[in-house]
């Protein structure tokens, strides 16, 4: 079984990943990937990352970097 870093599909918890920050993060990575966010239901929302056609060879890396980026920004909001 492959991890979230390979599939690009994840269920995020709004208590860890702030959905508003994830949306902003999607704009930052707009040149590299498309990000679809689902609505928040019981603190959870779905995330689907697909890399742009010209970055398909780097898809795993783009997904991983994006997940790290949104976690970093969200954790900073938790006053580390």
């Amino acid at each position: 079984m492959k991890s979230v870093f390979s599939t690009g599909e994840a269920r995020l918890d709004n208590r860890i990943y702030d959905r508003a920050l994830v949306k902003k993060g999607a704009n930052v990575y707009a040149d590299f990937c498309d990000v679809k966010l689902g609505p928040i239901i019981k603190n959870k929302f779905t995330l689907k990352i697909t890399s742009k056609k010209n970055h398909l060879t780097d898809e795993t890396r783009i997904i991983s970097e994006f997940l790290n980026f949104i976690l970093g920004t969200s954790l900073n909001g938790h006053s580390l």
Binding site: M1, V4, S6, D13, I16
Partner: protein, 131 residues
């Protein structure tokens, strides 16, 4: 590693998965631990249930992870938890010391003898030297 059975598992793409008890370590310590590893790893977090956080970590390309990475991660969790505890025990004293130091600094800066001119001898060093 029988001790780690049930705590750590591996994915096909070499990612590690830890299930960490929030009540034991605290979410703050778990977040700090993950943040400490984000330079060398990709990290994903999710609440498994109210008492457990699932941590998935994968090594970044070109970054080196120690062979006993799982144990190092678990040690860092204890380390961060201890830091939280020490902060709870001594945080107020530290805040008071800093507040006192800053308050004293403020008085010196506002005193009439205070000056940016280096020729003004605030500490009267010249008198001590007999100059």
């Amino acid at each position: 590693m029988p001790v780690l059975n049930g705590v750590v598992s591996r994915f096909d793409d070499e990612a590690f998965q830890f299930v960490v008890n929030c009540k034991l370590y605290g979410t703050g310590a778990i977040f700090k631990t993950c943040y400490a590893f984000m330079g060398n790893c990709y990290v994903y977090l999710d609440f498994e249930d109210d008492d457990h956080i699932k941590v998935i970590i994968k090594q970044k390309e070109g970054k080196h992870l120690p062979p006993n990475f799982a144990e190092e991660f678990l040690n860092e969790l204890v380390n961060q938890r201890l830091r939280v505890d020490i902060n709870l025990e001594t945080g107020k004293i530290r805040e008071m010391l800093i507040a006192k130091a800053l308050f004293t600094l403020d008085i010196h800066e506002n005193s009439s003898e205070s000056s940016d001119d280096f020729n003004v001898d605030i500490l009267k060093i010249n008198q001590l030297k007999g100059i």
